[in-house]
């Protein structure tokens, strides 16, 4: 029986549904409470920093002056254009964004710690802040860091020969300038950590809400100058990460420092305000994208000018280049683009640092390409599907203008299926009838590919100082015959304990519930990179499969001894090792014998290890949204949302669909709702969930999901990653649908989120123009 491909229920869920999950805040009970005194201004010099006049017994006030031995966070990118910005754990003299931690305050309770934060003294001589890239790039703008004069921290430039000629001689040139506003990933559980000190060993156990326990351990040990072996990092249940929890944050270093210095347990559990202002932001970008088309609507050349506001510091380990340079490298997406030119700049500002968020730059470039395609279609008199049909890559492998190889996929097929399911001619009739009644309906397409499951070759190409990518799995069978697989990746809601158990079970002839996936503990798992970049099913899955195959060989050799045959003659199925003539032994009995009668076998345990480091594979999808726009309020209702997704072999369809749905919800948030807003002085105006507004279940429509399964030849399991696709495709689909609904008014969406006031302002301007 094959377990892969079946929608078995998640092993993770019963505890979570009963409220018996164990999150960092559950572990933190009893620890001293840490709160951070944070900068109220975006830029300035600290002139006075002092503890409250009266400190209760046991209270602590910790500043940079207390930790002179602690280093700065300094992620590296080995590119000529990269300026290596340093982020102090706690600043000595200057603050660089509102919310930056300046001092740690420790008390016996959260209320008391909050009191002390209010009573501490922090005086800052304000300096002129730059919050937006236009301000940061203006001549004479304040310099955020001296190491990056002009505030450009990283730059990429490419212009293939022939781009200029193609643009000059094209039948049609379509230009699209747009703005993507800043977002926060907003996991249900914020960041948090509890550093426990073991007086017997001198080791610190940091329980943290993180996606990358091994990297966090390496980063903190380096910062504190401590032996890495004296630090254990545990990621317990993690309530969502979405990329926000894959960076090294100063707060964690402070917790470990406190535990070592004071030989006690210290915990910090972020509140929602801290998460919104001081964790990590993303997607604050502006692009101008331009394409040359021939008379048949085929792209001849593409050029893009990419600006990304990366905030005040560079995130570790991915660096602040992750947004601008991903947009730079992947702009053409699933389209045949023969010639390409681009310039990408990461701009420093006095704002919360940027870090990866589900999809990283791909929601933004997909928005750019898909809106550009619709606009070009209108200009060339083609319909939206037809212009895509003429440009989508349909012959694989395809080498892109930026040097990537697109493996077998279904760009055209996925779109055709979505268009067929939506019955566009029938929709156009409904749209016309509705418009006659004054109702505005629109339909939008979004076609994209998603680079997933990539190992060290892809990361090395980014020139990161630290090159993530591989995963190692240690697998062992207990004497009772259960399998333990220890993975370096660290799930935070993906159902990995279930899907990887399915992969392993199939290779060993066991049931998934006989397989335990051990993760999220640096003491118990091999060094690995974590769970991000749509990599876990592909890379941990491939390593699990390889490790299980090696274990299967061990079991077959042992079974051959018992069954008096050769290993080649043994099959593992239904919990048994089966030899010729149906002679068999239960795998559990075999495991017991190998451990307890090793004298008979010459095998001393049932443990294996395997690694996996694939080149990467591209999944793809077509999203299709139908919306109704209320012209009087600018409000948008999503009437239908359908997805045709190809993520290769689907390990567990229920979990795959959950990933798609969750991603689309965040993509719809990106399209219509969520926006971090700053005042010009860098103060942040969206510090609560009353002002930063993630949509709820009431705003997210039912989502129809259809799968195509192009089994990947680039991955061991045939699976492709799909964690980010939902968030990548949705903004463009929704924006194209709104633009379609308002096309007769000449309204076109070029800024997300497309909020009701923005849509209303576009309609008002269009009406005024029509009157004039």
């Amino acid at each position: 029986m094959n377990w892969v491909g079946r929608a078995i229920e998640r092993f993770e869920d019963p505890a979570l549904l009963r409220g018996e999950g164990r999150f960092t805040a559950d572990v933190a009970i009893g620890a001293r409470v840490v709160r951070f005194l944070r900068s109220p201004v975006a830029a300035g010099r600290i002139t006075r920093l002092a503890p409250p006049p009266e400190m209760p017994a046991g209270a602590l006030f910790v500043t940079a002056a207390d930790m002179p031995e602690v280093g700065a966070i300094r992620p590296m990118l080995h590119r000529f254009s990269y300026r290596a910005v340093e982020q102090p754990v706690l600043p000595r003299d200057r603050v660089h964004f509102v919310g930056q931690p300046v001092a740690a305050i420790v008390a016996a309770s959260a209320e008391l710690a909050e009191d002390l934060v209010e009573l501490a003294t922090l005086e800052i001589a304000d300096e002129t802040a730059v919050a937006d890239f236009d301000d940061a790039l203006a001549p004479g703008a304040p310099t955020v860091h001296a190491v990056a004069p002009g505030n450009v921290v990283v730059e990429g430039f490419v212009r293939q020969e022939g781009v200029d000629a193609a643009l000059a001689g094209a039948h049609h040139v379509e230009t699209f300038a747009f703005r993507s506003r800043r977002q926060n990933a907003t996991p249900l559980e914020g960041r948090g950590g509890c550093a426990g000190y073991d007086r017997a060993t001198g080791r610190v156990r940091l329980t943290a809400s993180t996606q990358m326990p091994h990297m966090l351990r390496t980063g903190i040990a380096e910062l504190l100058g401590m032996p890495e072996a004296d630090l254990q990092v545990v990621a317990p249940d993690v309530g969502g990460g979405f990329g926000q929890k894959m960076s090294l944050f100063p707060e964690y270093a402070v917790l470990v420092w406190l535990a070592r210095r004071h030989r006690r347990d210290f915990a910090w559990i972020e509140d929602r305000n801290e998460n919104l202002i001081a964790s990590a932001h993303s997607r604050d970008q502006r692009h101008v994208v331009r394409a040359a088309f021939d008379a048949a609507g085929r792209i001849l050349a593409l050029e893009a000018d990419i600006l990304a506001n990366v905030g005040a510091f560079s995130c570790y380990p991915t660096t602040c280049a992750v947004e601008p340079l991903m947009a730079f490298a992947e702009y053409p997406g699933p389209y045949k683009v023969p010639l390409y030119g681009a310039r990408a700049r990461g701009v420093l500002t006095h704002t919360c640092p940027m870090a990866p968020y589900r999809g990283v730059s791909r929601p933004v470039i997909t928005f750019g390409m898909e809106r550009l395609m619709d606009r070009a279609a209108a200009a060339l008199g083609l319909d939206a599907a037809e212009i895509r049909r003429r440009n989508l890559v349909d012959n694989f492998p395809y080498r892109t203008a930026t040097g990537m190889t697109l493996d077998d996929a279904t760009y055209v097929e996925a779109m055709e299926e979505a268009v067929r399911l939506a019955d566009i001619p029938a929709f156009r009739a409904r749209q016309a009838a509705a418009r006659a009644e004054g109702r505005l309906l629109g339909l939008g397409l979004s076609v994209f590919n998603e680079r997933t499951g990539y190992g060290t070759p892809a990361f090395a190409a980014r020139s990161m100082g630290i090159v993530p990518g591989y995963e190692v799995v240690d697998i062992a069978m207990t004497p009772q015959g259960e399998v333990e697989a220890r993975i370096g990746a660290s799930p935070h809601g993906q159902g990995t304990r279930t899907t990887l158990a399915q992969v392993i079970a199939d290779r060993l002839g066991l049931a998934p519930d006989q397989v335990r996936i051990v993760h999220g503990d640096t003491d118990r798992t091999p060094y690995g990179w974590g769970t991000f970049a749509s990599r876990n099913a592909v890379i941990s899955g491939g390593a699990c499969q390889a490790a299980a195959d090696k274990l299967a060989e061990r079991l077959k050799r042992a079974a051959a001894v018992v069954l008096q045959t050769t290993a080649e003659q043994v099959m593992l199925r239904d919990g048994h090792a089966v030899g010729p003539h149906d002679a068999s032994i239960a795998i559990s009995a075999l495991a017991q014998q190998v451990h307890q009668r090793s004298d008979l076998f010459g095998e001393y345990n049932l443990a294996e290890s395997a690694s996996y480091d694939p080149p990467g594979t591209f999944s793809n999808a077509c999203h299709l949204a139908v919306v109704e726009v209320d012209a009087e309020t600018g409000g948008v209702a999503i009437l239908r949302y359908l997805v045709v997704e190809d993520a290769g072999r689907i390990l567990n369809p229920m979990i795959a669909d959950g990933q798609v749905r969750g991603g689309i919800a965040q993509g719809i948030a990106n399209a219509l709702y969520e926006e971090i807003v700053h005042a010009p002085d860098g103060n942040i105006l969206t510090g609560t969930l009353a002002d930063y507004i993630p949509p709820t279940s009431a705003e997210i429509p039912a989502i129809e999901i259809h799968h195509l399964e192009t089994i990947s030849e680039a991955t061991a399991t045939g699976a492709k990653g799909l964690g980010e696709g939902g968030s990548i495709g949705a903004p463009a689909a929704v924006a194209n649908a709104i633009s379609d609904a308002l096309a007769h008014l000449g309204v076109d969406i070029a800024e997300i989120p497309a909020t009701p006031p923005r849509i209303r302002a576009l309609i008002r301007a269009a009406e005024a123009k029509a009157r004039a």
């Binding site: 959260a110 209320e111 009191d115 009087e632 309020t633 009701p756 302002a761 008002r764």
Partner: protein, 286 residues
């Protein structure tokens, strides 16, 4: 680790109204009813009551019933009570229509009608509704009681005519006869959010002509306001689409909407026009 982080306060849960009023004489005393606005603002330390007077153990305050020709709503009447009409005729139906827009179901089971009036959020559906209906607020203190009309109640952002030491013990709403019509419309970003603009219209129509009209707007400034000019545009007229459009345009032209990160003033004016028109259409639909 405790999740609550308010500043220190004293807590009392008296069993009688007299006991509560006595405690309210204390410095910085605040009434805790449903706590759906007060407790979060305390957690953010935007509210720092020195004394919290929990009235939930005073059963005599839990009523919403007809008294002396009005609907009398006691201080412990929860929002959710109004989901089924608490008064006959149009009034009960109006409140039942409005309550569906008050926050979310869990909040409605705890939060109170009088609490909304005392908190006086400019985007509170109940505040705009009470203003449209011309309700009266009964305020009690250790030294006596007084009544305040809705027009005098709302004084500014989160500020009412309630004096230190006083408690809003009851709101009285006039019953509406069968020839009264009502409409309610609001626009909010998410279901249950505070609205960016709302309109409540209450009209008496006799012989096909509007005889009385009150329109209250909420969510557009520091307090709910009456759209008096818009109401005047309706009185004496047969409510045609053109008359409704004129009234809506008048409401938009005469209001003074505020600007914040969610809505420029011009946008709020657009919403006032749209919501007024929708509320009036609803009220005047056959």
């Amino acid at each position: 680790m405790a999740a609550m982080k308010p500043a220190a306060f004293d807590y009392h849960a008296p069993a009688t109204l007299a006991g509560a009023l006595d405690l309210l004489r204390g410095e910085e005393a605040r009434v805790l009813a449903g706590g759906q606005s007060l407790v979060p603002t305390m957690a953010f330390r935007m509210a720092r009551p020195g004394i919290l007077v929990d009235i939930n153990r005073i059963p005599a305050l839990a009523y919403a019933e007809k008294r002396d020709g009005a609907l009398a709503i006691g201080a412990l009447a929860r929002h959710a009570w109004f989901e089924t009409p608490r008064a006959g005729g149009p009034l009960g139906r109006l409140l039942a229509a409005v309550v569906r827009h008050v926050a979310h179901a869990p909040i409605r089971t705890r939060g109170t009608f009088c609490g909304s009036l005392a908190h006086a959020d400019a985007a509170s559906e109940w505040c705009a509704t009470v203003l449209a209906l011309g309700g009266r607020m009964r305020c009690a203190s250790a030294t006596g009681t007084r009544e305040v009309a809705a027009e005098e109640w709302f004084q500014g952002v989160f500020t009412t005519a309630l004096q230190p030491g006083e408690m809003l013990t009851e709101v009285r709403l006039p019953l509406l006869g069968p020839d009264w019509r009502y409409g309610f419309a609001e626009f909010s970003r998410r279901a249950g959010d505070f609205a960016l603009a709302m309109a409540v219209a209450v009209l008496r129509v006799e012989g096909g002509v509007v005889r009385q009209a009150r329109i209250a707007l909420g969510g557009i400034g520091g307090t709910p306001v009456l759209a008096k000019e818009a109401a005047l545009a309706l009185i004496g007229a047969a409510p045609t689409d053109a008359v409704i459009a004129t009234a809506a345009e008048t409401a938009a032209a005469c209001c003074d909407p505020q600007e914040d990160i969610h809505a420029p003033a011009e946008y709020r004016r657009d919403l006032v026009r749209a919501m007024t028109r929708r509320a009036l259409r609803q009220a005047l639909a056959a």
